[in-house]
């Protein structure tokens, strides 16, 4: 999560991964296991929680998703970069992951569109030419743990002791990522007939797009906005967005939600769902290695209907801790974890998954319609 990144040459100059002096990469994991591969992007060190996503498309959407802040993001699909990059797909203004690990950094043909140059332009240390499946199996066995990655000239490999030191200093679970991910000042999007406030904890652009598409004006607010300031906007409802990190590190937002709870329709997505549960008095816990991918099966507990969702979370709401008026509306078919909440009487809904897809399916985007229907 500390990216001591040193861009090779000027930041704006696209680099070729296959330059005359190939870069090497080392990845060290908590038990001392090291993986070696080739480097791209920029030279330097990067640390963060090592996580993997199994989504086969949507690398640009994932890399720009603020929820991946502070993480080394590994793609299990081995060819990443096939269709290049394009401004319209970005979910935020910057690349969020502290480091990227892929099996093959695939070339899309032209430099300007290539993922390799994009990563270099944004100064993201990238490891490739490594057995990503072996790393995924390690993570599955040991859980999501901190990792440290070095991208360096072959002859300038850092000592393992330095990597170890950095690894020991890594503390993903205790940092308030929301504060560093949220917008600096309010933004207004769309001109729809109803107004929704979006409390930005590290929001993805697609959430705004999906709301705007549904005849909604979205006012994106910094996460530290007070309940009174939010209510002063007279929103039809408040969306608590997705975002990175441990929900318990964002108790300031939880307080705000607690004040809003019961006074205005609420919808929580991913981290927002966890924060909403905390505000209601429930607790959250860390999953072994989280859910990250575009193929996660979720079942509606009332109808039994199942659908496929995009997920990107390391924490979950503890079903046993829920107050009596918050019902589990959705569960994960793989591990039975809580995937959605529904208030017994109030227009309060939340989902652990991403109804907006991007990357991934929008099979459950009807939930947005339903909530907007009861919020208006």
């Amino acid at each position: 999560m500390v990216a001591i990144a040193q861009a090779e040459g000027a930041v704006d100059t696209p680099m070729k991964a296959s330059s005359s002096r190939p870069l090497a990469a080392t990845l060290m994991l908590t038990d001392g296991t090291c993986f070696y591969g080739r480097g791209a992007g920029v030279t330097g060190l990067a640390s963060g929680e090592l996580v993997f996503t199994t989504a086969m498309t949507g690398y640009q959407e994932a890399l720009t998703d603020p929820s991946y802040r502070g993480q080394l993001l590994m793609f299990t699909y081995p060819l990443i970069g096939n269709y290049g990059v394009s401004a319209g797909r970005a979910q935020s203004d910057s690349l969020q992951a502290s480091g990227v690990i892929v099996a093959t950094l695939s070339d899309a043909g032209s430099d300007q569109r290539s993922l390799g140059s994009y990563l270099a332009r944004h100064g993201v240390p990238t490891m490739h030419g490594v057995d990503t499946r072996a790393i995924a199996l390690w993570t599955r066995r040991h859980g999501a743990m901190p990792g440290v990655m070095s991208i360096h000239q072959e002859e300038h490999a850092p000592s393992l002791a330095i990597l170890r030191m950095m690894l020991d200093a890594c503390s993903y679970d205790t940092r308030d990522f929301v504060a560093e991910s949220t917008v600096a000042r309010p933004e207004v999007h769309g001109a729809g007939s109803r107004r929704v406030a979006l409390l930005d904890c590290g929001n993805k652009r697609s959430v705004i797009d999906e709301l705007v598409r549904r005849d909604t004006q979205v006012i994106v607010l910094p996460a530290h906005t007070s309940a009174a300031d939010i209510m002063a906007l007279h929103p039809a409802g408040v969306v608590v967005s997705n975002g990175p990190g441990n929900p318990e590190c964002a108790m300031h937002v939880v307080e705000t939600i607690r004040e809003l709870y019961g006074t205005v329709p609420l919808f929580g997505i991913c981290l927002g769902h966890q924060l909403l549960a905390l505000a209601a008095g429930a607790t959250t816990y860390k999953l072994k290695f989280g859910h990250r991918g575009a193929n996660h099966p979720v079942q509606d507990t009332a109808t039994g209907h199942a659908f496929v969702t995009t997920q990107n979370h390391g924490y979950a709401v503890d079903a046993d801790s829920l107050p009596a008026d918050l019902l589990v509306s959705h569960r994960n078919l793989n591990d039975d974890t809580v995937e959605g909440l529904r208030h017994r009487t109030l227009p309060i809904r939340s989902v652990q998954f991403h109804p907006e897809g991007a990357p991934g399916p929008k099979d459950a985007d009807v939930l947005l319609d339903e909530w907007l229907g009861i919020a208006a």
């Binding site: 199994t54 699909y77 081995p78 060819l79 199996l137 193929n295 039994g304 990357p359």
Partner: protein, 991 residues
Amino acid sequence: MTERVLIIGSGPIVIGQAAEFDYSGTQACLACREAGARTILVNSNPATIQTDPHVADVVYIEPLTVSSLEQIIARERPDGVIATVGGQTGLNLTVALAEAGVLERYNVRILGTGLETIRRGEDRALFAATLEAVGEPILPSRAVTSVQEALQVAAEIGYPVMCRSAYALGGAGSGFATDPSALDDKVSSAQAFSVTGQVLVERSLYGWAELEYEVIRDSQDNCLIVCNMENLDPMGVHTGDSIVVAPSQTLSDDEYHRLRAAAMRVVRALGVEGACNVQFALERSSGDYYVIEVNPRLSRSSALASKATGYPIAKVATRIAVGNSLPQIRNDITGTSAFFEPALDYVVMKIPRWPFDKFKGLDGRIGTSMRSTGEVMAIGRSFEEAMSKALRSIDTPRTVGLAETDLEALLITPNGARLPAMLQAMRAGWEPQRIADLTSIHPWFIDRLATLVREVVPGSPGAYKMVDTCAGEFEARTPYFYRSEMLGGQNEALPLSGPKAIILGAGPIRIGQGIEFDYATVHACLALTKAGVKSIIVNNNPETVSTDYSTSDRLYFEPLDIDAVEAVVRNEGKGLLGVIPQFGGQTAINLVASLQERGIRILGTRPGCIDAAEDRGQASDVLRRAGIPTPPWKTVEHWDDLKRVAAEVGFPVLLRPSYVLSGSGMIVARSVEDVERYLQIHANLPLTQPLLVDKFLEGAVELNVDAVSDGHDMLAVIMEQLDECGVHSGDSAEVYPAQTISPEVLRTVECYTRTIARAFQVVGLVNVQYAVQDDRVYVLEVNPRASRSVPFASKASGIPLADLAVRAILGDRLNELDIPAPRTDRVAVKNVVFPFRVFPGLDPVLGPEMQSTGESMGLGATFGAAYWKAWLGAGLRAVPFGGTVYISAPDEDPRTIDCLMAGLRTVGCRIVVAPGTHSPDASVEVVAPEDVDVSAFGLAIVLGRSRAEIGVLRRAVDARVAGISTRGGLRAMIRALQEGVPDLSLMPTGA
């Protein structure tokens, strides 16, 4: 829950419908069993695992006709029928049963995807209306019923147009037309293929990208995508003939999900309850797409998707059909729910296998009607790796040294050699952009191919990776592995413990090496397991039961070349008994020498003995020493020597050049004059390989023997071939037990076979071809391996040949095994199926090159019953009883013709003869071959080989009229006709 389920198989292997339906039907049976339902399976194809007693509860090897199905339904009283696992045949037959009122009469429900959905998927007008209702774009097109109407519609849409026929197999009869006259040709031929007579004319989408989604939906409306696939070949090439990669490589997340959502809307609108394949055309710059086609059933694509992902589509679809919902079904591999979408962490490549090497008269072009007989699949961690492994698997020669203009032509027009031509162009330094422009193939693929040509894939030691459906996210238990040399990764395939053996599969289905070898492979595997030896399969064909990961203890999905097999051997290391090549056809046998060179133990018949049997010279020596007669033969290396050598061998002789053209190159020379005539035609061509001059055994009957030997004892199944010497044994109909052979001759054959098995020290299976002339027995050929007739021989005789072979290979003595006595209480006839209809340019005549794709089996109390059942089982329209028969057999013995006509008349046939053909009385109508219109006839018997006569056979093929073109075939029919109208009642297959 449904208790008794009828499952309809797909019949003989034809182009467009191959082993994938043995896989889907077999999985359906196993899934029913898992769900507690009893299965009744019917299929006329004996070379299938699904017709084995251990798969279904009740098996009928019967014709796939309404009348035979009605008898089965009346007897078995199933609660439901599954229409979607037997290909287009199963689907069409279910519709026919419903329309004939049979299902209603016996209260049989269609399980899973039902009649309405089938109709919406198959009838283009209904399909269009269904999609329009949910806003999914389909191509502007119109269904027409006449050529005039087609021309009118095309004029409105504008050329080029595409036409295709409803209910067609593998897109048969479809194609592009650039002008009215081409359209006229296409539509006339397309209508011949269609059940409904409906032909579709639509806008041409040449150059658009083609994508497929495999969708599953249950009755609770839960819906998911198992896999998407991207065709390298743009629109215009049938998906079965396209090079395909999974998952899609060049689609952005947005494109991927737009099409995914569309596929789900389509499947919901159709009301599919089970599996469905949805095909899209996508124009990348505008994002426009069309839904091109759906198959609301299991398909070749679904088999590929199952093998590509590890997700058993047929099994899950069957569970849905018998009433389970997706969330209730378990993913066997991970123990989690079957409601999820597989995540791949590798690249899968499919390359079709075309029969253009067999049919040299064809130009190799491919298009909208399918021409490939089979396919290979390869798995790698990069596109280049998957592609190079697929190329190693496909086993066809690469193009070299083509001139630039020829190369360019191969790139422009889609054809079977386009991929090797692209690689040659890249080696020759052509700009990738030029290749992309000529082929319309996406530049990303061209770049990857260029990398493949430029670089050697990293030569790291390599490691085996698991196909686990979930990219490592969940702990998985599956024996399914592939090898990657990328990245020097961690090996996940730790050696199996305990005794184990490797069985080599047969690779892609091609003419001459079909599903029969997969049958043998699977049986060998089961027999190993029964004997307590772990079975390891190496194979590269995604359609088959042998590459179902639940068949063996371990599956290595790998090329069948020496390096891949050696790597598997080294990986398994200790406890490995050896490699068994004898079930995998010639592909596996060809590896024996190099395996031995690398010190790898071959189980079964020793490599030296295999060599001796394979080499014509050595084999002759061994047979001569053993006192077994073979027809005299010699080889000729210069045309000048031919006359002398032919005289030395003694007339008549059989001349077989190496460049045989669909039966016309091989002749029987009865005199020096014949040889001179032959030289006039052929001597201007260079003699690249020695010409074989065999003594021709005039009037001989061929016997085909499959035997199992333990090196001491031997057990033989002797089948009589119904077509004469000179017709490839694989193309000949046959009967068990032999009908016209004396007991003495049969004893001689058995005795010779025993001597041969001992002489070649056969341990396992051996196939011997004999000719019997005037009660003298000659050996024509010895194949020291499982032959294509093993499934028929096993099912006809009741002797499990492949299983016994494995016991012998493991060291058991046959005389210590409990072997059932051969069945002699019934007759089994095998009929064969040819792909002539798919290839309009071919002469439908039989010759020394094998041309058939599949087989059917008829079981009856008498020869006649078995004969006609095999006839119907082969998909021939109907028995010709009561119809008109055309006979052109000018050289045939009048007594034979008299017998034939008498027989035909007893079954109510009207007869028309060609001038010169014997006719017993003046009342018989005479029409010249040039003038006869056989399209409404029941049968055409044409023994002559004039152009006009071949034309009659061709027209019969196009009109789906049965033809007989061999003397042997004629005699077999006379024999069957002697019984009059046969009793075609069911003949249970019980063990």
